[in-house]
């Protein structure tokens, strides 16, 4: 899965779950879109769905410091790299 595809999937989650269209990549999500801890949990569920695999508790905790869309994409990129069966991974 390419960085561009990850970005596209993350943006889809933001539109579907948080009603945010084309979020800015480096804005602080809390300040710009009132993104909060509840949204973070919903985001992780969305990521699990498109990866097709469950995140470990440790992986979920690592997400708690994320502040921007770019950081979410970095996070997902790492997850994809550790999963052989993630979408787009051969």
């Amino acid at each position: 899965m390419t960085r561009q595809e990850i970005e596209s999937e993350v943006k889809k989650i933001f539109l579907r779950e948080f009603e945010v269209e084309n979020p800015e990549m480096d804005l602080d999500l809390r300040e710009a879109y009132a993104f909060d801890s509840i949204d973070a949990i919903e985001l992780l569920l969305g990521i699990e769905k498109f990866l097709g695999s469950e995140l470990t508790q440790e992986e979920k905790k690592q997400a708690m410091d994320i502040r921007t869309i770019n950081q979410i994409c970095d996070y997902v990129e790492k997850l994809v790299a550790t999963r052989k069966d993630a979408p787009g991974v051969n």
Binding site: A34, D36, I38, D39, E42, L45, E48, E54
Partner: protein
């Protein structure tokens, strides 16, 4: 320190209308809010009572996503009346968020619609993925204090939070405990009320207790019939009501419009059976209320009775009213228009008499065609009266043996 507590705003969503103009028109025209029970694909086909006090008109909600995400239907009702009350009160934003204002708001059990969805997942889950579909927000939508904290979140209220969940006395306790918080100087203002959403499980509970009306399924507007010879039980309903309670000097200083004054509150328990009405317990509550308000029984000129239209409940309440107030005050039963709005009934049944105080009329008890002789010792109202109302007693009683009374006076 005892301070005067006034009501500076109120709003209600009810089966007979939303806001004062619609509600007063319905009261004056004798419009009933009782409609056929909706098919729910779950329990409605087993329920004998086929009527419900229904909010069947659109409400123009305008809540942002960050608020909507933790709100079930009951919180929509609660936040809407809270929003209207805050706007009407004219309280400035810096006061609302100062910590000097709190919220007392409840529902009988959070959002049953959301709870139903959660249970459905539990009972039907075949794998972990289904289990994980229970979202992070489901608890926040369905917990018993969901109304109170969605209000605090939406409006940035940082004061006390009281969220009683005592069935039919939920919002009379909200107003009563909010009143005490302001009266004794713990808060300068309290936003108080209650809400409940459309829910067939509540109907099923009362239906199984043989407490619901079943004889008028084909003519919903003819039931409930408080104090009437043909009454055959209560009708469950939905709705919401909110009032702004404010310390009198605070309200006066900012030039607020004062709608009425809360002069007393009492609450007790029957100390025994959790369901059956109790004459001693209720009579004591009413007398405690008079003591708390420091007024005589003859000072009360209108009683808003709990009067759910059950066979025994109405008789016991009539006897208690007679014992506490004699036959002086007019007695009305607003559930005859609305049905039993559960957690909202105390607030709604406080607000409607305030409208009557403001406009100088008393709405009759609907469907009271032939007074049951066992309830005849009190002064019932069977047609619209153009009479000034000065002091109202609002009575509510709940499963669990909880009894409340609020004493409301026209402000002067």
């Amino acid at each position: 320190m005892e301070r005067r507590v006034v009501i500076t705003a109120c709003s209600a969503i009810t089966p007979i209308g939303h806001g004062k103009a619609q509600i007063v028109e319905s009261l004056l025209k004798g419009v009933s809010g009782i409609k056929p029970l909706r098919e729910d694909q779950l329990v409605s086909r087993f329920i004998h009572s086929k009527v419900y006090g229904t909010v069947d008109y659109p409400i123009d909600y305008d809540f942002k996503r960050q608020y909507r995400k933790t709100m079930g239907p009951v919180a929509y009702y609660a936040c809407q009346v809270a929003k209207e009350v805050l706007e009407q009160s004219g309280l400035p934003q810096d006061f609302i968020t100062s910590g000097n204002m709190g919220v007392a708001f409840g529902s009988i059990h959070g959002s049953p619609t959301v709870q139903r969805d959660i249970y459905k997942v539990f009972f039907e889950a075949k794998d972990k993925a289904a289990y994980q579909s229970i979202g992070a927000v489901d608890y926040l939508k369905s917990m018993v204090h969901t109304t109170a904290v969605n209000i605090t979140k939406m409006f940035g209220i940082t004061g006390r939070v009281i969220s009683s969940g005592t069935a039919c006395t939920t919002s009379s306790q909200s107003i009563g405990y909010g009143y005490e918080a302001v009266k004794y100087g713990l808060q300068e203002a309290m936003l108080c009320g209650g809400a409940d959403e459309y829910d067939t499980i509540t109907v099923a509970v009362f239906d199984n207790l043989l407490a619901c009306s079943t004889a008028f399924n084909s003519e919903p507007s003819r039931t409930p019939r408080p104090f009437d010879k043909l009454r055959d039980g209560l009708v469950v309903a939905e709705g919401a009501g909110a009032v702004m309670l404010e310390e009198y000097e605070h309200a006066k200083k900012r030039g607020a419009q004062i709608l009425a004054e809360v002069i007393g509150f009492a609450c007790n328990n029957n100390g025994g059976d959790l369901i059956l009405p109790n004459l001693d317990g209720i009579t004591k509550t009413l007398k405690l209320g008079l003591q708390n308000a420091k007024i005589n029984a003859s000072d009360v000129d209108l009683v808003s009775a709990h009067a759910t239209a059950t066979k025994m409940g109405d008789i016991i309440e009539a006897q208690a009213i007679s014992a506490a107030f004699g036959d002086n005050p007019y007695v009305i039963a607003l559930k005859s228009y609305l049905g039993h709005t559960m957690a909202a009934c105390g607030a709604i049944e406080t607000i409607l008499p305030i409208y009557m105080m403001q406009d100088g009329f008393i709405a009759p008890t609907l469907n009271l065609e032939e007074i049951d002789e066992r309830c005849a010792m009190i002064k019932h109202v069977q047609k619209v009266l153009q009479e000034p109302v000065k002091t109202v007693a609002v009575q509510n009683f709940a499963f669990g043996g909880v009894n409340t009374i609020l004493l409301i006076r026209k402000f002067s």
